[in-house]
């Protein structure tokens, strides 16, 4: 009597011997069991690439909806083969459009921030060139009016503050008309804004480098580090380089001349602009470049493989300083 009142237990699901085969197509998921289609999920054409991109997640969900207890086997169909499969199920599918969408996603998510460093570093070089051009041109131009002060100033920054201003002393310069002087002043404003732009780009590089390559940034200096990444092509490539290559990075012309014609090999390239370079004797620069390159190569490896998270630059700097002091 009591027994009949008892709540019925759900039927225990039988474990099926035959596995469920899941076919992963670029347009959807299909589950087959004992040769029969038991579940399908078809994606909208516009969502195919996106869904395929995050398919692992979707497969999990899809599996949870299948009410068969069994092993699962995965089967991926892709390429022209998938078009035939789509036809069989009456699904409109264009593999070429799919590949375009998928490649777009790969480009979007394959981006790495070292590419920003490269652009900014190149921009800085170009800005420096522009500043020099402006400085040279305006020295000539303004020099017609006030040659004495052009002769006296010794930095671009100083020059940018006076260019276009009226004279305050006797001069051998020609008395330019107001409108001529005004034009020189306008060009001078551009020079000023270039100088302040250079400052901003440098600061930006510094920030970016401390984010993506903190160790390289500390050992090489942010601007030299950025230049190294730029010439190497990427942080990955720099990390994969032997230190001997890093040592002569930026001196490719001299290096290839050496390989081809047997001239003397270069001792350093970009590393010449490292701040330590000017603190040692000329004859020791080659040795210093070798030292720097070895530490930078370690730093770049730490940066790339830890994605900028590991910070070991204190040890590296200490080691470097010790060896540099032996050089002097």
């Amino acid at each position: 009597m009591k027994r009949s009142k008892r709540r019925k237990r759900p039927k225990k699901q039988k474990f099926e011997k035959e596995p469920v085969k899941i076919t992963i197509a670029p347009f959807g998921l299909f589950a087959f069991h004992k040769g029969k289609l038991v579940k399908k999920e078809i994606w909208k054409p516009k969502e195919c690439a996106q869904n395929y991109f995050k398919r692992e997640e979707l497969i999990k969900k899809f599996k949870s909806k299948i009410a068969i207890k069994a092993k699962y086997e995965k089967n991926i169909i892709f390429g022209p083969e998938s078009e035939k499969f789509a036809k069989k199920f009456g699904i409109k599918f264009n593999f070429q459009k799919f590949m375009i969408d998928l490649t777009k996603l790969k480009i979007k998510f394959g981006f790495s921030k070292d590419k920003l460093v490269i652009q900014a570093s190149n921009m800085l070089d170009e800005t420096n060139k522009m500043i020099n051009m402006f400085y040279e041109r305006l020295s000539e131009w303004y020099g017609f009016y006030w040659p004495e002060i052009v002769e006296r100033v010794n930095s671009v920054e100083e020059f940018s503050k006076i260019v276009g201003k009226k004279r305050t002393e006797q001069s051998m310069g020609f008395d330019l008309e107001e409108k001529d002087l005004k034009m020189i002043g306008i060009a001078g404003e551009e020079l000023k804004s270039l100088i302040s732009f250079k400052e901003k780009v440098s600061n930006y590089i510094e920030k970016l480098m401390s984010e993506i390559a903190p160790n390289t940034s500390k050992i090489a200096g942010p601007l030299v580090g950025a230049k190294l990444i730029s010439v190497a092509g990427s942080l990955k490539k720099l990390a994969e380089m032997p230190s001997s290559t890093i040592q002569v990075l930026g001196a490719e012309k001299a290096l290839f001349r050496h390989i081809r014609k047997g001239t003397k090999p270069p001792k350093y390239g970009i590393l010449l602009s490292h701040e330590l370079m000017h603190k040692v004797k000329q004859t020791n620069r080659g040795k210093l470049a070798r030292l720097l390159a070895s530490k930078i190569s370690i730093a770049a490896k730490i940066d790339y493989y830890s994605q900028g998270k590991e910070k070991k630059w204190e040890e590296l700097l200490k080691d470097l300083e010790e060896k540099v002091s032996e050089l002097k």
């Binding site: 390429g79 998938s82 070429q96 590949m99 375009i100 480009i107």
Partner: protein
């Protein structure tokens, strides 16, 4: 202006002041690389510049054969921005396919714009030294290879498995990618020896004056 069929399928001679080759534009009005379009009797031809494409240079230099046919499936290794590949796409036509393998996302960006217009170009962002990334391509009639890496022959032999029986391959070799200091002619000799192990060499052409220190080999499969 005189337009005549060349002895190769889908390629035409256009004689203006200079003699140039051209293909029939698959997408009329579309000239993604600033190339010259010529309309003649309701057909639009697209000039194929030998200075910009190594295959065009090989044809201009008089390569014996160019056995690419309408409807062919092609694997193009090192498609870059898709310039040369777009001409291959013109020749194989709507029913053909050009699988464009390129590793650099930067140039792939350009290729995508072209592929969006040409419905037979399939972009594949992958490394040609690792064919397992695009196994799905299946069998192809023709392989073009223009990758500037040191082990160029290795890349081709790795991809040889895609080639159908009786299929052809064309490879452009840049001597400076292999060794900057050695003589190009010696490098090419070595390459030829290596290629002979895997293929029958149908023809070869140096590309001067269009490209310096380059050679193109036309290969067919050993049976």
């Amino acid at each position: 202006m005189k337009i005549t069929k060349s002895k190769f399928e889908g390629i035409f001679w256009i004689e203006n002041e200079k003699k140039k080759i051209a293909t029939i534009n698959l997408v009329p009005g579309y000239a993604p690389f600033g190339e010259q379009l010529i309309k003649h009797k309701n057909v639009e031809y697209r000039i194929w510049e030998p200075h910009r494409s190594k295959w065009a240079a090989a044809i201009m230099k008089g390569i014996k054969e160019f056995p690419l046919k309408k409807g062919n499936k092609v694997l193009y290794l090192g498609a870059a921005s898709g310039q040369s590949a777009s001409y291959i796409s013109d020749i194989v036509g709507d029913r053909g396919k050009v699988f464009c393998v390129e590793i650099s996302p930067r140039v792939m960006r350009e290729l995508i714009f072209v592929a969006e217009k040409k419905n037979n170009m399939i972009p594949i962002l992958a490394d040609a030294t690792n064919p397992s990334e695009y196994e799905f391509v299946g069998e192809v009639d023709f392989i073009f290879q223009d990758v500037a890496v040191k082990e160029q022959v290795d890349v081709l032999t790795k991809n040889k498995k895609f080639l159908k029986k009786g299929g052809y391959a064309m490879i452009a070799i840049k001597s400076r990618s292999i060794d900057v200091s050695a003589k190009p002619s010696e490098i090419f000799k070595n390459i030829e020896k290596e290629l002979e192990k895997h293929f029958i060499i149908v023809d070869k052409k140096r590309l001067e004056p269009y490209e310096m220190d380059h050679i193109v080999f036309l290969l067919s499969q050993k049976s």
